[in-house]
Symmetry: D2
Subunit: 348 residues, 4 copies
């Protein structure tokens, strides 16, 4: 079996689990009062070239929902893409943690939202208007849920629209490493320098094990968030074992190394697809995900060959590369697609 | 420094972290669709001698609040002890996850609630009465937050009162292992055979690392809870790393071995205190916690000696034993108390 | 000034306010324990030809949100039209009272949802799937927010799809009277006989003053709803003054008489528009609302003439008829439209 | 039957219902955009000698819960008396509208909270502490739920403690008129001059019909509250009929006249009780409520005589006077008590 189902089906980087073992000595104050969590603040502040607050959390859903709930009142409206994970896959966690916060969908390409459609949506709600709630935040997914990556200028254009109206900016960075690796920019450029106030910093999908993090760039958000996280059951009493994972994740550039590896193997598949005009990509392959329009029979044949992947619709397949997906596995997928698409065409 | 601050300041059992490393091979379906999580259901069903649903969660706060929210409507009243962790230390997580569920405090000794005070409290609210909300559940902490342990007959008496009124029963088992070790009964006897519907199964305080669990005995609760947990950001995508910890925790009786160790060292301290009439215990030492009335000067002197512990009030100190607290550390504490209490008495 | 802004800008029927005065004698038990509220249950049960529970509430928003929250768990999904009042105009009250309930939009014509698009939307979420929440209810607006009216067979088709999946059915009947008047059917036919479980029974827009009601057809919903309403601050202590209004509203068919009047005057305007091909209706005029595509200059001219109405977009105007809108006012509007549209055409 | 059950069993002042009828002419913008609601702001600003925002709401429960939810985050703690209506009788509406806000009970006499116990309670929670939530507000009930009235210096002492810690102050003024009438002070002195930030302004219990109000003294609270009220279903579309009631309520001092009447008749009963040493008052009679310790047999006898009242416990009866309770009714109650208490004593 060759597994392209998701980046969460994979192993953790051994370095991350070894860090757990190394942290297992002596006693340490609970709930984040330990030296690993203190160190985590420093390391991430270095990484982001500014003083940040880092809150380890169990999952990306917790990171997204609690970060968004911290950005505005419960009658707020959060703007996002229709395919955003917060809209499609988190059982309305944002609405729950936000006590009624509503998501409003904004059009855009390849899982992005567009600055112009955002401006239009905002124009439809006057400040002080009671009937619809009030716009409070925008959430961008970087890389997007369709495997594309916002360019810096695209984010800045959205930020400009949002800030003009006083909105806060959240980045869902479940695949932030893949975006940084793709763009070759600094984490700072892609976040606070582009006016992002708070982000969900993903690790799990990119070789992590049991935690992601909320990274806060606007200090005013952090205090309340700390209490809210405690109440949400997201503050481990033995926090050192979470903080140690996140430190190991960014140590010596491990996170970017893994993201580069999964990006590269996805790119290799995408390159192979170029020669297969019958394989239609839904979005450019800029990170580690490939969305491919395929006849159902071809999907059946791939599965018979031992490939695992998700069928998003009857004719849309998703293939996700992990940091340890091999070039041979990539070439195997391309070869199988060539074979089955050729057969499908011949059958037409 | 000798650390008696909490059982969450300590190390994890090495076996639990090693299980993480052993689980780190191959790919596995996300969000609990893996073989470790399947195995976890079987192992816990064996342990409890009945078919149970086990949901790993990040923290005891999550376990308590989500379990209680699953037991009744948002206008429900949950009865608990005034010193219950859910009342004192979870930032009203139950009220939050339960969308307004209210805790009502019931009198009792040593962190327990009494069956009679419970019956009285329930008698004060007629079924169908609108003004106060409606009783829906009782939460017992076993072992209690003052270090005592409910006997089986005490739990059954409470359960009888609760069930007569149609209430559900929750057990906060943050220190369940210590209670089972103390009573020498089976996990089944202490839970579903005593009419408990759902429990928070603690591991962290007893040598665990990054997860506790909700164990459901009443199947009707499990379906909704699964969605609620997903929405609460408590379902790890790489769930195998949580399930593997919990499997290792109960494997070969590790959990009870650790609980027996921390109970024994607490009992050793308690025995030493018998000879010190000036040391007044707040509650019998039946698990791994010791609550001691002490003059402030004695607490100061202990700290100067290098003992770490929490001051609950100006004259109440809490000492918690961990699975790896040594007999020498216990004897050291008793000796220091003897010394300082003697001095304090002499100073009178 | 001739006011077509909304049916909530108008007067109350004098009979309704007189009923308040008649109810103002003697003492009466609070919170609905009075004879008027008891009588209300009987009168509405007669009206609907079945035993119903009637809960007076202050507003239609309260009726909708609390009724929907009573139909399923907080992780539920409620299906409705994009233009439904619950989606556009209630500041996400359903998400708030439902503690995170999410609205999912279903396509359809003229403010309706279609049975086929609903079936398709439901097919996209498997039972037990955790990531999206679970479908729990469908909300139909009758008459719709665009002034059309569901036919009985349309409602039954939707109900069939919903019931096959175990969903509950809610009707937002803010303009229920207008729909009943239009269809000439019985209230029973349009509700519980078509499988509606609970409805928001509007009075305010149709000559009411200070209350609408929730009417419950499925008894299992009523008990919890009663507590929830108390907690929501929707149970008046002097409930007699609310119940008396609702009794007067349906007494001797007053409600239908008023609805027929507003429908008739809207129909008179619509008939006049037939002769004005430049006036494009957004939806058939089947109740008391008229949505008209108009050039901005024509809207300006109408306002200069003293007509009041809402501009939904730059080219969409809404005109609402009240029970006391006169035929002369209708003819005045048609004449003005004829005049200004003629001028606009000439200017082309 | 002579009804002492509650001040909500009574009639409305005829002036208030007549105001509804007078307001029933012409059209008026919905949701508070009408001239009555504008006028209401002015009249109340005059009454309170400062610029206030007034939001009519359906019930006192809505007023309390929404005002308190506006004062702080959802992890906040609100301090109040154990017998406060928000704690005993509103089905935890504050916890619901506040998305998990918790009530913490503060000791005091006669339904008041004491400044010292409040200071002590606050000292127990350090700023920034995560485990318990954070103190955000204090709620005072004036007149109290046991019929006593805070003196100005008592309120100022509490306010000083609260403000030192940065807490907001809420007044539950369900019987505010009775307190003002008792103290003979100005509404301003009893509220914003004593540092109250927001109040629930009761009308229903004192001759009102269908609305109370939230009065906001701290402008920063008002904007968010307006959206929250809309979402809570507490903004009538035909708001004029609510605003007109509240204007009539304070017009020409009607509210104080009614409060003086109910206070006076309660005082007359209290004076009669002075001569009956067997009748023990639970609290001084300073407003319109009388809490009387009575043998069960005496309560039975009173009921047999046709007196209606509430039994709070087996030996505690509550008698409430309304604005239209007559002196003859008062004398009748005293005479009956004299008769039955004498008989009870003789039977000893």
């Amino acid at each position: 079996m060759i597994d392209y189902r998701s980046d969460n089906t994979g192993r953790a980087a051994p370095q991350i689990l070894e860090a757990l073992i190394r942290a297992n000595h002596g006693t340490a104050l609970g709930y984040g009062g330990d030296q690993w969590t203190a160190s985590l603040q420093l390391r991430f502040s270095e990484l982001f070239e500014t003083s940040v607050s880092v809150f380890p959390v169990a999952t990306g859903t917790a990171a997204n929902a609690l970060a968004l709930a911290a950005l505005g009142p419960s009658w707020g409206i959060v703007y996002c893409s229709e395919v955003a994970h917060i809209n499609t896959s988190e059982a309305n966690a944002t609405g729950f943690f936000g006590s009624g916060i509503k998501l409003a969908l904004v059009a855009g390409e390849h899982g992005k939202i567009g600055a112009d459609p955002l401006a239009e949506a905002l124009a439809g709600i006057s400040p002080g208007q009671l009937h619809r709630g009030q716009p409070t935040a925008v959430s961008l997914t970087e890389a997007t849920d369709l495997g594309a990556v916002y360019r810096l200028d695209e984010i800045r254009a959205i930020a400009e629209v949002a800030k003009r109206r006083g909105l806060k900016l959240h980045m869902d960075g479940a695949r932030f490493a893949n975006a940084v690796a793709r763009l070759g920019c600094s984490p700072a450029d892609l976040t606070w320098r582009a006016d992002i106030d708070v982000m969900s910093f993903g690790a799990t999908k990119n070789g992590g094990a049991l935690c992601d993090a909320i990274v806060v760039f606007s200090p005013s958000i952090a205090d309340g968030l700390a209490v809210q996280l405690r109440r949400a059951g997201q503050v481990w009493s033995k926090m050192r074992f979470a903080s140690a994972q996140l430190i190991a994740y960014i140590e010596d550039g491990l996170w970017l190394e893994m993201a580069r590896a999964s990006n590269a193997v996805a790119a290799r598949i995408a390159a192979g697809l170029c020669e297969l005009p019958a394989a239609r990509l839904l979005a450019p392959v800029e990170a580690n995900e490939i969305f491919l329009e395929l006849p159902g029979a071809v999907m059946d044949a791939l599965e018979a060959d031992g490939f695992q992947f998700y069928r998003r619709t009857k004719t849309l397949a998703r293939f996700v590369c992990r940091f340890d997906t091999t070039e041979a596995e990539a070439d195997g997928l391309v070869a199988a697609l060539r074979r089955h698409l050729g057969a499908a065409r011949a059958a037409d």
